[in-house]
C-alpha cells in the first residue's frame, strides 16, 4: 500500500516535469501553429547554463537565475534570425528546419562544453529526504519539483486567463489577422510566447539537471514524451497539457512499477519480466492511442 503511494508520488513528479516541458511546446504548437523540434535544445541549454553557473558560484539558485534569461535570449535570437521566417511555411519545412537546429545545438554545446556529460548537484538545502507518511521517505528535491511545477501551472493559468497578454494570446490563437488588424503587434506577441516557452523549457532543464544526466542530446528523450503529452492534452491547451502530463507520468510510472508483478500472476517470472518490461515501455503510447481513438482532438481541444 505504501509502495503504491510512493509510486503515485513518483508518477506525479514525472508528470510535473513533463508539464514544464509540454506547456511551452503546446503554446508554440497550438497558438503559433509552429512545430518546434528544437524545444528540447532549449531544455539542454537551460541545464548546461545552470550547471556552469552553479559550479562557478556554488549556488543552485544563481544557476536558475542565469539559465532562464539565457534560454529566453537564445530563443528570441533564434526566433528573430531563423524561426520567424518559418511561421508561414508548411509544417514539413518547420520540422526540417528545427530538426536541423537540434543538430546545430548539439554540436554547439559539444564545442562549448565538450562531449563529456557535466555535473549539476542538488542544492544542499534540498538534498536528503522527508518522511511524507511514517515509513516512506521521499526525496526532498522531488517534492520541490512537484511544488515548482504546480506553481508554474497556477502562474500560467493566471497569466492566460486573467491578464491582457493572456487575452491577446488567446485572441491570437483564434484569429491572428483580426488581432493584428486591431493594432496589436502580433509579431512581438509571438516572440514573447516563444521566449516564455523557452524559459519554461529551460526551467525544466534546470530542475532535471540534478536528477538526470546533463549531456549532449538530453533534450530529445524528453521531447518525445512532451509531444505525447500535448497530443493527448489537446494541442494549444495549457490545461490539457497539465492534465495529460500528470496522466502520462502516472501511467508510465505505475506501468513500470506494477505491470511485471501483475503479469507474474498469469505467467512464470521470466516471461512476466520480459513481457512486462516491453509492455511497460509501451504503456504511454497505448494510452495515447486509446485517448486519440476516443477523442481525436485530445482531452481539452483548444480551438472549439
Amino acid at each position: 500500500m505504501l509502495l503504491i503511494l510512493e509510486q503515485t508520488l513518483n508518477g506525479l513528479q514525472l508528470g510535473v516535469m513533463l508539464f514544464l516541458m509540454a506547456a511551452g511546446l503546446t503554446l508554440i504548437c497550438g497558438i503559433m501553429s509552429f512545430i518546434n523540434l528544437a524545444h528540447g535544445s532549449l531544455y539542454m541549454v537551460g541545464a548546461y547554463v545552470a550547471a556552469t553557473v552553479a559550479q562557478a558560484t556554488g549556488s543552485f539558485l544563481l544557476g536558475v537565475c542565469a539559465a532562464l534569461p539565457a534560454a529566453g535570449l537564445v530563443a528570441m535570437a533564434l526566433e528573430w534570425s531563423a524561426l520567424g521566417r518559418l511561421y508561414d511555411r508548411d509544417h514539413l519545412d518547420q520540422v526540417l528546419a528545427t530538426f536541423g537546429l537540434i543538430l546545430f545545438f548539439n554540436e554547439l554545446v559539444k564545442i562549448v562544453w565538450g562531449a563529456q556529460p557535466i555535473f549539476l548537484d542538488t542544492p544542499a538545502w534540498l538534498s536528503g529526504s522527508v518522511e511524507i507518511v511514517p515509513g516512506v521517505p521521499y526525496s526532498t528535491y522531488r517534492l520541490a519539483i512537484i511544488v515548482v511545477g504546480l506553481a508554474v501551472a497556477l502562474g500560467l493559468y493566471l497569466l492566460i486567463a486573467r491578464t491582457r497578454v493572456g487575452m491577446l494570446i488567446r485572441a491570437g490563437a483564434s484569429n491572428r489577422r483580426m488581432v493584428s488588424a486591431l493594432g496589436v503587434d502580433i509579431k512581438r506577441l509571438y516572440t514573447l510566447i516563444f521566449g516564455l516557452g523557452a524559459m519554461l523549457a529551460a526551467l525544466a532543464g534546470v530542475m532535471a539537471g540534478p536528477i538526470y544526466a546533463v549531456q549532449v542530446g538530453m533534450g530529445e528523450n524528453i521531447l518525445i514524451l512532451a509531444f505525447v503529452v500535448i497530443v493527448v492534452g489537446g494541442i494549444g491547451s495549457v490545461r490539457g497539457a497539465l492534465v495529460a502530463a500528470l496522466l502520462v507520468g502516472l501511467v508510465d510510472t505505475l506501468g513500470r512499477a506494477f505491470l511485471p508483478t501483475l503479469l507474474q500472476l498469469a505467467f512464470d517470472p521470466a516471461t512476466a519480466n520480459g513481457v512486462g518490461a516491453s509492455l511497460a515501455s509501451m504503456t504511454i503510447y497505448i494510452f495515447m492511442a486509446a485517448i486519440l481513438a476516443w477523442r481525436p482532438q485530445g482531452l481539452f481541444p483548444a480551438h472549439g
Binding site: 562531449a115 563529456q116 555535473f119 536528503g128 529526504s129 528535491y141 549531456q215 528523450n221
Partner: protein, 388 residues
C-alpha cells in the same frame, strides 16, 4: 599481338611487385565522434593517436596513415564508411567501433573481405562465439566479462540477495546473464528498463520494497548518471550498496555523477593505478597531450594501436602481402598492455585479469582505485563455440 603480351606482362609485373616498404600502412577507424555517446569514440581515437604520436607518426617503426570517420552511432552509416574504406581507401586494418550493434553490422563483412579488424570496445557474444573469424581480434573484452566479474565479487563478499537492473535490449540481457553466470545467491528482483529512460524513481521504490543486500546495475551512458544520482538522493545507498561494471564509473562519466558515485565498487580490466611501466607512460602522456585523465576507452584505443604496432614490427610492415604472418603476429600479442598481462584466447578475445575498483577522490578529482582482483586470467564464456 605484341602489345597484348606486353600488357599481360605489365599486369603480371604489377601483381608480383611487393608493396614498397615506404608505403604507409592504412588504418581505417570508424568511431562515434558526434551525437550521443561521442565521448567514448573521442577517447578511443585520442588513445589510438597517442600511441602513434609517441612513436613519431609510426607504429612498430612503420609509417601509418590513420583515416578517422564518424559513424554518429548509426549502423547504416558505419556500414557505408566501412565499404568505402575497404573499396576505395584499401585500408589494411580497421578499428574503432564503440557499439555492439554497429560492430555486428560492419565486422563480419570487412573480415570476409580480407581486412583485419581490431576491436577497441564492442565485444558481442556473436563475434566471440559462432561468428568468430580469423581476421577479427578484440583487444578490450567480451561484453559479458565485466558483469561476470561483478557477479563473482558480490558472491565472494557474501551478499545473499541481489536486485538486478538493466535496459531492455540485447546488451542488457547479456549483462544480467553474465552477472548471474557467477552469482549464485538469491535474485531479489530483476527489472528491465526502457532504453534511454530518464527517471528511475519507480525502480528505486521497487528496490526499497524488495530489501535486497546488494544492487547490480548496468546502465551505460546518461542512464547510469541519472540512476546513480537518483539512487543517492533516495538515501538507499547507505543500506544497500551498488555494484556495476566500469562503464558508469569511468573517467568520462564520473565528473557528471559527482559525489553520488563515491565509494561504489565497480569492475574493470584497466585502471589508471595499475602499476606497470606501460600504464605509467600512458597515463602521464595522455594527461600531457589532452589535458585530462584517460578513460577506460582511451586505454583500449591505446592498446589497439600498440597491438597493431607489435604485429607490424614482427612482419616488417607487411599486412596484406602476408596475411598469415600478420595474423600470427597479432595472435602472439607481443606488446606491453597498459593493463599488465595480456594474451588472446582461441577466439581472439582477451584472457585477462579483471579488477574491482572503488571510486575515490584524489586531488579533488573523482577517479578509481583498485581494491581487489575478481578474476585471474579470465576467459569468456563463448570460446568453445568458436570454430575458426
Amino acid at each position: 599481338m605484341i602489345r597484348r603480351i606486353f600488357c599481360a606482362l605489365a599486369g603480371l609485373a604489377l601483381l608480383a611487385a611487393p608493396a614498397s616498404a615506404a608505403d604507409p600502412v592504412k588504418i581505417g577507424m570508424i568511431t562515434t565522434l558526434s551525437g550521443g555517446g561521442s565521448g567514448l569514440g573521442i577517447d578511443i581515437r585520442d588513445g589510438f593517436r597517442l600511441a602513434i604520436d609517441q612513436e613519431g607518426g609510426t607504429l612498430g617503426g612503420h609509417a601509418v596513415e590513420l583515416i578517422v570517420e564518424d559513424d554518429a552511432r548509426k549502423p547504416d552509416k558505419a556500414r557505408q564508411i566501412a565499404d568505402r574504406m575497404v573499396e576505395r581507401d584499401r585500408v589494411d586494418v580497421m578499428t574503432g567501433i564503440v557499439w555492439s550493434n554497429l560492430a555486428i553490422a560492419v565486422v563480419p563483412k570487412v573480415v570476409r573481405d580480407g581486412v583485419f579488424y581490431v576491436s577497441p570496445n564492442a565485444g558481442p557474444s556473436l563475434l566471440a562465439g559462432k561468428g568468430c573469424h580469423e581476421n577479427y581480434f578484440n583487444v578490450a573484452w567480451q561484453n559479458d566479462n565485466l558483469h561476470e566479474a561483478v557477479g563473482q565479487y558480490v558472491k565472494d563478499e557474501g551478499y545473499e540477495s541481489a536486485f538486478v537492473l538493466a535496459p531492455n535490449y540485447p546488451a542488457g540481457h547479456d549483462a544480467i546473464a553474465g552477472f548471474k553466470r557467477y552469482y549464485d545467491g538469491e535474485i531479489a528482483g530483476e527489472v528491465y528498463t526502457k532504453l534511454g529512460q530518464l527517471d528511475y524513481a519507480a525502480e528505486i521504490a521497487q528496490i526499497r520494497a524488495a530489501e535486497p543486500d546488494a544492487v547490480f546495475f548496468f546502465l551505460p551512458g546518461g542512464m547510469g548518471i541519472s540512476f546513480i544520482k537518483q539512487y543517492d538522493q533516495s538515501g538507499l545507498r547507505e543500506s544497500v550498496p551498488l555494484f556495476g561494471p566500469a562503464f558508469s564509473f569511468d573517467q568520462t562519466i564520473l565528473g557528471a555523477v559527482g559525489d553520488a558515485a563515491l565509494g561504489v565498487v565497480n569492475s574493470s580490466q584497466w585502471s589508471q593505478d595499475i602499476d606497470n611501466v606501460a600504464n605509467e607512460a600512458f597515463v602521464a602522456d595522455f594527461k600531457e597531450a589532452y589535458g585530462r585523465l584517460p578513460s577506460l576507452y582511451a586505454s583500449q584505443g591505446y592498446d589497439a594501436a600498440r597491438l597493431i604496432a607489435s604485429a607490424l614490427k614482427a612482419t616488417g610492415g607487411q599486412v596484406k602481402d602476408d596475411m598469415d604472418a600478420f595474423r600470427e603476429a597479432l595472435r602472439a600479442a607481443d606488446f606491453q598492455s597498459v593493463r599488465g598481462d595480456f594474451a588472446f584466447g582461441a577466439n581472439h578475445h582477451p584472457v585477462q585479469d579483471i579488477y574491482m575498483r572503488e571510486v575515490v577522490k584524489q586531488d579533488g578529482v573523482l577517479t578509481n582505485r583498485i581494491t581487489a582482483k575478481a578474476f585471474e586470467d579470465h576467459k569468456d564464456a563463448y570460446v568453445d563455440e568458436c570454430r575458426m
